[in-house]
Symmetry: C2
Subunit: 193 residues, 2 copies
């Protein structure tokens, strides 16, 4: 039976996920420094000291949340892009997927945008590397666009990502959808083909 297969496996770090979820939620809402281990432990319904059985330090916990955030948003973007063929449609799908995660769906993704690498000095290089790995996707998507040769694709990518991440500040649910925002931004930033 499936039952025995499940039961046989040692329960390994079952509540690690609870901690991770709680940390993602609080880091996204309050920021790194405004969130205490005690806050996280309470949200995960355990005592503060127990967190340290699963994570070596608060910074290590942030790194785990951040890495998971990058992995999730990257997977969501990759899936969205895979459905499209035209370069512009691919970029627009990527922007919409990015916004979906950032605005609605994922506390993890919000941590990636909200927490700055310098907030946790010792893991800053890791955070920067994770983020660059993700943003490389947009470099490739922009590279595939047919653009007038005097367009600076590097600056276009930076402008686009800045505009997308800035949406977290002003976005309120109801008025627009991630997809509609992506369409507007792309219409403004990338001259129609």
């Amino acid at each position: 039976m499936g039952k025995s297969a499940e039961a046989r496996a040692p329960r390994q770090d079952n509540r690690r996920l609870d901690i991770l979820d709680a940390a993602a939620r609080l880091f996204a809402r309050q920021g790194y420094h405004a969130t205490s281990i005690r806050d996280i432990a309470a949200a995960a319904e355990m005592l503060p000291g127990s967190v340290y059985y699963h994570f070596a330090s608060k910074e290590a916990l942030l790194l785990a949340v951040y890495a998971e955030g990058v992995a999730r948003i990257a997977a969501h973007v990759d899936a969205a892009v895979a459905n499209k063929r035209a370069p512009r449609a691919r970029l627009q799908a990527a922007c919409a997927a990015h916004l979906e995660m950032l605005l609605d769906r994922s506390d993890y993704a919000q941590v990636v945008v909200r927490v700055l690498p310098l907030d946790a000095e010792s893991i800053a290089p890791s955070l920067i590397a994770l983020r660059e790995d993700y943003e490389r996707r947009f470099r490739d998507l922009v590279a595939a666009l047919p653009l007038s040769p005097r367009t600076d694709r590097h600056m276009l990518r930076l402008a686009l990502l800045g505009a997308l991440n800035g949406a977290k500040v002003w976005y309120r649910t109801g008025r627009q959808t991630p997809a509609s925002i992506a369409r507007s931004f792309l219409q403004a930033i990338v001259p129609a083909a």
Copy 2:
């Protein structure tokens, strides 16, 4: 003589400015929650308790820094815009001035972009109001642009401000100037006339 005029005036909050400068510098570099009153007092070369002679609380100090930041960046942008006539040139000058303050010149301006209103709950409405007052300038500048009637000026403004503020994350001195970034962004975001 001017000497007597100066000497007659009671020395009024002379070192308030030292505290404000130190706070702006530290808030801009480390964020609000990662900066302690003790850090600020040490940078201003006084004892922690003395700060409270000049400011009622840490949040009140943040509000003073934030307000000064908005005032300074607004003055700089206004001065830059006043030199130009054409709508597009005016917007570009505003973007360049905004970036100058954000990237190079002013710790105060960086606080306005870095610190989120929710970092200090009791003064959040004041911070939001200050920021909206400032950003209204960009609404007006965008409104004056000659654009195709199906362009969403609201989204264009949000995209532009997001792109500008995002520059704080990736900008390093030397490669580009605020003016060159402003030119690139405007070229990308606002279709040429």
